[in-house]
Symmetry: C2
Subunit: 255 residues, 2 copies
DNA sequence: CCATCTTTGTGCACACGTTCACAAACACAT
DNA sequence: ATGTGTTTGTGAACGTGTGCACAAAGATGG
């Protein structure tokens, strides 16, 4: 399950404080989940606790680490050493969790050759050699969105079977390849959505009348919109033209 | 729903190519979801398409933007201008999606006063004033994990009601405050988990014998572990001591 | 050795999200 | 105006994940 890393983090914190055992209740509180869920997770995992006492912290740490494959360390390549790539390269939290940065890669000759976090930035041409030689199976993509799919293809071709994608792009990969994406804009948009909910429910304060009208009015409205060659009421959209870096909202009010 | 931003991104891409309408099938493919799911999302949202034709791209873009609260722009503060804070400050994708960086904040005097992405880094003391004056409701935490809860408390106290947390910490907040977390280590660990699954199922290759034995052997094993004062078989763990930056795996083999 | 108390492991019901499949609705050509 | 083709909107079945609640298991104290 996806909650194991959470448990592991809570457990290691306890381990550092030399706590010998935890009850499911305590651990669940520390990890921010339901205690029944935690117990079910552990039972499904096969790890056994002791009734009346709880779980042995050290044993669980080892069990979960093993289950997650953290008893071995995983070489990782980072492709696209810009703002985000630099930050990731400098991040110490990876090494401490069993992930080793095998190489930093970029296509820009101006970036290639510089160092980040003590590692040299190497050229994309070396990708295949590096992946093969060091048996890299995990790749991190921090290139601009336009290059992401192309980089992804090369990674997969070279033998990478797990990809962590930071570019706001939907990657298509063959079966057997796992992709996880981290999209900061989406996170913020979700927050904004809830934020708006809190601040009273009057989203547009105007055009909801037609849209919520049932029956034949709907068809009329649709026809109207199409006839106008676009959004009939887009004039209500803010004048913010936003010279989109990725050009996402740049066309709320089209030409 | 959490998929609206995805749809929005696909739709804006279409909008830039001046595509007037899309079928649910096409859009679903572009967003990487099931078409029925997409239709249900839209119907739940209240936006109407036209049967036999599809959805009006511009109209949908506006509708979703409005639903997400993207017709207004949201001031955001970033706290902790280290590696990650810098990267976020430099990221243009926020501004283009309706998010404006209201201020960069840090506690370190060595960092305060420098500039990042053209903005000055200001001291934490100014937090309350900034949040109040600019009516900031969204805060981003990129401090070390130890400071995260404390920073979170101050943000909430100042009036922030939505928090995006990059520190590997479970934040506790009062009701009415939303927290979303982005944890890169967890993402990598999940990938490693699946990666291990692919590479044959022999996680420990040794100690699974006892653990999977049913019946009274379980109790014996548990007793044994407790008596040994820790993991009876942790000796099988790799010798990698990992001088943990956050000290996460540093205690797989305890003292 | 027995009683009591704590905590696990899990059966079960429930709620939610997902997917299929199809009728109604609309466009378009004739 | 009518038929045909396309696509939406949604009812209903399905699978999954979640949480309650409780019996069994073991610890602990007498
Ligand atoms: N910076 C952030 O905080 C942030 C936040 C959210 C999302 N993102 C996303 O992460 C990605 C990277 O962001 P960034 O700010 O670091 O951008 P950036 O422009 O600073 O860095 C991109 C790097 O990728 C390299 N690159 C370009 N094409 C390449 C190719 N074909 N092969 C290899 N390398 C190539 C460039 O040379 C550059 O060094 C973008 O997709 C962005 O949308 C960034
Ligand atoms: N860098 C990454 O790629 C990365 C990846 C995953 C997670 N993270 C997490 O993000 C967080 C930041 O990472 P980083 O690499 O940028 O760390 P960093 O050490 O480079 O930056 C942290 C910044 O926070 C500031 N700070 C410390 N205490 C503060 C306080 N009480 N109030 C305000 N500011 C304070 C520091 O002065 C520093 O500038 C960490 O929790 C880390 O675990 C980072």
């Amino acid at each position: 399950m996806a909650r194991l890393p959470l448990y592991l983090r809570a457990l290691t914190a306890l381990s550092e404080r030399s706590v010998p055992t935890v009850s499911s209740e305590e651990l669940a509180a520390a990890a921010g989940v339901n205690s029944a869920k935690l117990r079910k997770d552990f039972s499904y995992l096969g790890s056994y606790g002791t009734r009346g006492v709880g779980y042995d912290v050290e044993y669980l740490v080892y069990q979960i680490s093993r289950e997650l494959g953290l008893t071995q360390d995983w070489p990782v390549v980072i492709v696209g050493i810009g703002n985000l790539g630099h930050a990731l390269a400098n991040y110490g939290g990876f090494a401490s969790r069993g992930f080793r940065v095998a190489a930093l890669l970029d296509a820009d000759p101006a970036v290639v050759g510089s160092t980040a976090a003590g590692l040299p930035v190497r050229h994309m041409d070396e990708l295949e050699d590096i992946v093969t030689a060091q048996q890299v199976s995990i790749g991190v993509i921090t290139t601009p969105p336009g290059a992401a799919q192309q980089v992804c293809d090369r990674l997969v071709e070279a033998g990478v079977t797990s990809i962590l994608n930071f570019a706001p792009t939907v990657l298509t990969v063959p079966d057997g390849v796992d992709v996880r994406k981290v999209d900061l804009s989406i996170e913020l948009q979700i927050l904004a959505f809830h934020e708006q909910r809190k601040a009273g429910d009057e989203p547009g304060a105007g055009d909801s009348v037609l849209d919520r009208a049932p029956g034949p009015v709907r068809a009329a409205a649709a026809k109207l919109r199409r006839a106008a060659g676009g959004t009939a009421k887009a004039e209500q959209a803010k004048g913010k033209t936003a010279q989109g870096t990725e050009g996402d909202l740049s066309a709320v009010m089209p030409a």
